[in-house]
């Protein structure tokens, strides 16, 4: 099915309320934790871009959905109901707010990158410091929300997929925190290239299962995590790490990650008295991007730019740019842009960044692309490496290779924008995990 571009603009609000929105931060100087119960009370208008997905989990009527085997269908219906109930429950939201503040370490700062700004000579660049969260990335925002939900549902065993290991580490962390059994599926190739994270997960008490099917990367880990879930439905919760998978995962993970955008909005108001002009984030599955985009969807003055991993180049055949070089199809429970061949077989993705090495993307991004609300661009491995070094030298912040893709695009556009323009960049993770990869590419032996 081709996306029906333009046919389904901001569709009618068929979900109950959607996630309500934005923190009333106008003029607020001190950033406080978002009070989600207040938000939940604000209904979204009928033509809001924040009203997706519809009741069947479809974004724009095409992307998303629930493409799973019958064995799992009753489970995701149960999850959908449990999440709807938790979302509307002030006690759940208060519990989540407590852990986000005192365990994750939120809110994260919005840092004015002065030297980077001066060097590039254009727009003012702000970095949203998600790398300062506990475990070093934005991943814990979502994991914290889902683990509280899993506990409410009485599940005692958690399975998750991981690529670079950031989501696996975050999941193993909360399982340690709550004393839950944790099984992480990780492609054998990734186990090899991300040894420190594998060791971290094992220290945290998780069982790490190397996946040898396929190419042994994130997509194969996702397949095996789903196989585990189907075989252990009675006690197991599948904790998906990105805004993909069958409904309700894309919407739920987005909701949990939206704290990034809500804080950014309030912090930019506090710093500059207005909204940013451009928001930039890297995209693998797209959870940090969806989290920072979502609160800005209805602010039409704000350009939203998702940066995909172009790998060796968009047209090199070795890329992870699913939106720019893929077409809609069905994988891992949802319809979305996928890298696939003419016969509908899924292709391997290629990126220097293990976290972006996935042949699909969250369905909400696919929809935002179709309607033109967000722009999607590609950054190559080489450009990301340059940005990695640039950010480290200019700001004293070592970014994750994933986040370096967002910085690389910022480096391209900042000089083209006026000096009073404001760019907010999601610095989704820290780069400690990537030093071996970077050293290898720089020809340094550690």
């Amino acid at each position: 099915m081709r996306p029906q571009q333009g046919m389904i603009p901001w569709g009618p609000n068929t979900t109950a309320g959607g996630r309500a929105g934005t923190q009333g931060g106008e003029g607020a100087v001190e950033l406080v934790m978002v009070n989600p119960t207040e938000q939940a009370a604000i209904p979204r208008g009928g033509n809001s871009l924040q009203s997706q997905p519809d009741g069947k989990g479809h974004f724009g009527g095409v992307h998303g959905g629930r493409f799973v085997a019958e064995t799992l269908m009753p489970l995701i219906l149960e999850l959908e109901a449990a999440y709807a109930k938790a979302k509307a429950d002030p006690a759940f939201q208060a519990e989540l707010a407590y852990y986000l503040k005192d365990y994750v370490g939120r809110p994260s700062p919005l840092w004015f990158a002065r030297r980077m700004t001066e060097k590039l000579g254009g727009a003012k660049i702000y970095l949203k410091r998600e790398e300062l969260n506990h475990t070093g990335s934005h991943k814990l925002n979502n994991v914290m929300g889902q683990i509280l939900l899993a506990r409410r549902m009485g599940r005692t065993r958690i399975v998750a997929e991981t690529g670079a290991g950031q989501h696996g580490v975050a999941t193993a962390t909360v399982c340690a925190l709550f004393g839950l059994k944790c099984v992480i599926y990780m492609g054998a190739t990734d186990v090899e290239r991300q040894k420190p994270n594998v060791f971290r997960m094992r220290l945290l008490g998780a069982e790490v299962v190397p996946v040898t099917s396929g190419a042994g990367t994130l997509k194969d880990a996702m397949n095996d995590a789903m196989r585990d879930w189907v075989a252990n439905v009675a006690d197991t919760y599948m904790l998906i790490g990105t805004v993909a998978g069958p409904h309700p995962y894309p919407a739920m993970v987005r909701d949990f990650q939206s704290v990034i955008g809500e804080e950014t909005k309030a912090q930019m108001q506090a710093a500059e008295g207005r909204l940013p002009d451009v928001v930039v984030a890297a995209i693998g599955g797209g959870s940090n991007a969806m989290g920072i985009f979502y609160p800005f969807l209805d602010d039409s003055s704000v350009r939203l730019i998702g940066v995909e991993a172009a790998g060796h180049g968009l047209d090199s055949g070795k890329t992870a740019a699913s939106i720019e070089r893929g077409r809609p199809g069905v994988l891992h429970g949802n319809r979305t842009y996928l890298l696939q061949n003419a016969d509908g077989q899924i292709e391997e993705a290629h990126s220097i960044s293990a976290g972006l090495d996935y042949p699909g993307v969250g369905p909400e991004h696919s929809w935002l692309h179709d309607i033109g609300r967000a722009e999607y661009v590609g950054i190559t491995d080489g450009e990301a490496l340059e940005a990695f070094t640039f950010c480290t030298e200019m700001e004293g912040i070592i970014p994750a290779l994933e986040s370096a893709h967002a910085i690389a695009h910022t480096v391209k556009i900042a000089p083209t924008l006026p000096k009073d323009a404001l760019i907010a960049v999601s610095l989704s993770g820290r780069g400690d995990k990537d030093i071996f990869t970077v050293a290898e590419h720089l020809g340094v032996t550690l």
Binding site: R66, F67, V68, T71, L77, M226, G329, I346
Partner: protein
């Protein structure tokens, strides 16, 4: 009457259930899998399921995953799978053929075009594992127009309230996934099956096939007696895999061993008949 309905009716008249062996298209190559397909009815297949290889078979265990990879390596495409069915139909006009696979290759081919081409090739029914009734509208119209049955899976997790909904979207027969798990791993006990089936019978008059974990002749006979058909997949693919040479190519043992296993399964299923065929 469709081939599927006719076959189940004929077997009901004999007082026995059906044996439905599975093969993965192009495993390990087109020629071998076509020869296997053509020889299956004589070995005792009452209906045949053909797997359409997919790169990411997330509901399947290691045995079917490996078969799918072999099939893809050998160049399997949906066009090629349909072409195999056409070749099979040159000699066999009555044995029902069901294609089983995942939705993406079919979506990529185009639902309308696929249903038309599949029906023209002589396919009788489709099982798309990851296309639940909630998402099946894209397929249902084209399949009905082409006269293809959509076989629905029902699992032990399928709730009572959901059962009626799922089965209202089913035709041909119902495929009962007898375990919560992936293909070719554990098996349900006869006791589990006896407990599970009345729940389905109360909601549907369609024949019920039992699959996932049916491996031995005894299990096949049980499943075909408690239900109306036994589907055997991983056990046959595992045998096929054993016969391949170290390059993964078919050997002179490949066809005889798989076919002899089907004969053993068929003998056990046929022994349950009230009146011999």
């Amino acid at each position: 009457m469709s081939r599927i309905a006719a076959r189940f009716k004929a077997l009901a008249d004999q007082g026995r259930g059906a044996l439905i062996p599975y093969l993965e298209a192009y495993d390990p190559d087109r020629e071998t899998s076509l020869a296997l397909l053509k020889a299956m009815p004589a070995a005792g297949a009452d209906l045949i399921e053909i797997g359409m290889p997919f790169s990411d078979p997330s509901a399947d265990g290691p045995v079917i995953q490996a078969a799918a990879i072999r099939g893809l390596k050998a160049g399997a495409t949906l066009v090629g799978v349909l072409d195999m069915v056409s070749a099979f139909r040159e000699d066999d006009a009555t044995t029902p053929v069901i294609l089983m696979g995942y939705v993406n290759p079919v979506e990529s081919y185009g639902y309308e075009r696929f249903c038309t081409d599949a029906a023209a090739a002589g396919v009788d029914g489709l099982i798309l594992v990851d296309l639940p009734p909630e998402e099946a509208e894209v397929l249902e119209g084209p399949a009905a127009k082409a006269g293809l049955d959509i076989i629905r899976l029902v699992a032990p997790t399928t709730t009572a309230e959901r059962l009626g909904y799922v089965l209202s979207h089913a035709s041909g027969f119902v495929y009962y996934v007898s375990i919560t798990g992936i293909t070719g791993t554990r098996s349900a006990s006869a006791q589990d099956l006896r407990a599970a089936l009345p729940r389905l019978r109360a909601v549907t008059d369609l024949p019920i096939a039992i699959g996932f974990g049916v491996r031995t002749p005894e299990q096949a006979a049980e499943a075909a007696t408690i239900g109306d058909a036994a589907v055997v997949a991983s056990a046959l693919l595992a045998t096929l895999a054993e016969t391949l040479d170290d390059q993964g190519r078919a050997s002179e043992h490949t066809l005889p061993r798989v076919l002899s296993q089907i004969e053993d399964l068929a003998k056990a299923v046929r022994a349950t008949a009230r009146t011999p065929a």
